[in-house]
Subunit: 349 residues, 2 copies
Amino acid sequence: MTVTLADVAARAQVSPATVSRVLNGNYPVAASTRERVLKAVDELDYVLNGPASALAAATSDLVGILVNDIADPFFGIMASAIQAEIGGPGGRAGGERLAVVCNTGGSPERELTYLTLLQRQRAAAVVLTGGAIEDAAHKAAMDAKVRKLADAGTRVVLCGRPPAPETGAIALTFDNRGGGQELTEHLIGLGHRRLGYIAGPEERTTTRHRLEGHRAALAAHGIEEDARWTVHGRYDRRSGYEATLELLRRDPSLTAVVAANDSVALGACAALRDSGLRIPEDVSVAGFDDLPFSIDAVPSLTTVRLPLAEAGARAGRIAMGREEAPPGGIASVRGELMVRGSSGVPRVS
Amino acid sequence: MTVTLADVAARAQVSPATVSRVLNGNYPVAASTRERVLKAVDELDYVLNGPASALAAATSDLVGILVNDIADPFFGIMASAIQAEIGGPGGRAGGERLAVVCNTGGSPERELTYLTLLQRQRAAAVVLTGGAIEDAAHKAAMDAKVRKLADAGTRVVLCGRPPAPETGAIALTFDNRGGGQELTEHLIGLGHRRLGYIAGPEERTTTRHRLEGHRAALAAHGIEEDARWTVHGRYDRRSGYEATLELLRRDPSLTAVVAANDSVALGACAALRDSGLRIPEDVSVAGFDDLPFSIDAVPSLTTVRLPLAEAGARAGRIAMGREEAPPGGIASVRGELMVRGSSGVPRVS
DNA sequence: AGCGTTACAGCAAGCGCTTTCTACATACGG
DNA sequence: CCGTATGTAGAAAGCGCTTGCTGTAACGCT
């Protein structure tokens, strides 16, 4: 039925062992023999049986990438960068790896199940991206799984996710707290004193860290926060729109709205415009991440740029063992404040 | 070292065969035995060896999704929808499949290599998304590969891609031509007679079809096209920005710019604004796809909505054999014209 | 009571590859 | 000219699972 190694061997008049060695190139084979084998492979249109190979060699060429939402460019950009480094087709010959992008949709169960699936496939490496869920039980389960994977020889890298000590995973963490603080300080510096904050979903490290940064900035400047100024929502535009309307309802005197990310900020802009408010004359808006579309908003968005592609690339290289892990297995990646048109001096109240 | 089926069998005092059958649930096993086995699995924290299982059963639970650019929400949205249907974790018990999103980056070689990799893994199904590359040699190679995959029992579905007759692949094609025509007709209806067109990369079916639709509309209304009115570029914002500047340079009297997709249209808007032109008073702009951010542009973008998520979901179901293939294996999916603020009556010249 | 059924469980033969160990040349130093 | 490297190829033992086939009880029927 399908062509097997043995068929190739027969055609090339050599043993299966030799064919395997030619294909893997990890054993000396006479040039003439190699050629004969390659010719047979070509003629028979032979394709290696991955599972069989993985079973026999006890290794696989699968690399898993877990993302919370593949439809969100935040993850798409990281995944793309990771995959480019993983090699996929394009790496050095023979080292072809299949990057598996798994979409957890932010669901704890799926996250765990995907990890099991990857463990089952004996993945060569796994990269976990984005914020983690802050549920003690879930975190413990995840850590245990990660440790098991690491023990089994799978390299685990966390990209844009807080470190998981004692699990053997390498972490490239985004400094969400620092970025959040810097952003809010910029607004305070402009003169804002009443700032609304649209946070991401609760129980997420990213959400918490950004919010903590925001609050740290307020505290540092002696601004007492009003509980009504914070609203939680999802990481999407719609949520930003609704949350902004809610904020406006709660306190129409707000002069700035800080959003959990750029998509949310865009929704906020739309809500403000629909409410007849000008940006930034009436209300300033700030986002986070600096996704490609942010610069196209009108006015363009003040935000914190996260080096998603760079971090992804680095995570990919570390996963492939092509770059050394940072000291202690943990590195913090800083964001950069991008001041643009959506933030300005507050209106005089 | 790692726990195997045999270990579980020993612990549960049954044969490996029984354990396998409990795990696969495809053979009657007494309830008491099943329980004993499940308990042992749990206690030993056993994880099935995927490759071994795939080898023995001659099937795998991998499903491949090929995308041109994972960082582009156009593909992210489709991939997300496909994956949701594939089941990943979430489908019916036991039917856990691993969706593999492969990023070709629009490169023909990578496209082919990924297909080989999936063939090697004996993927259960493969979904190819987005426009195809119009190179005769490449197309032939792809078709041959697809046919081989289909012959080997892998279900192949094309989503948003032109049909590949005789390959055994099911196609869900977007009516790019019709959408393009409708869009341009809308502009002509408003009174536009001098329309610039920013096309996508050459040698791509999507690019060609959308452009053909545009030209068909012009022709239908007796508008003679000026060769200077068309510029080719990539499917990104930057490209749209530059192409618009070029169009303006070539013919400052243009009253409308039609872009290959929404990202390009956003770039076009930015370029127009930077050139001191108002949208739509001075120049109307239209996009294609209706990605989530398009409604947030200022003014919001007139575009053609493509049911990305719906089509992806359907493709996923077909790939899983959970929905019947359309008659003839081909279905055309229509777009819907979304008239918004970026298009208006042309200025009087 | 005798026999065909039915319901489970085990045996053992692979699935297609990798890899260790062995075999055999040929080459080389003494 | 022999013993020992050296380079190359093959034989064969699995890797961990699935599954066809073969028991073997317990059951129901005439």
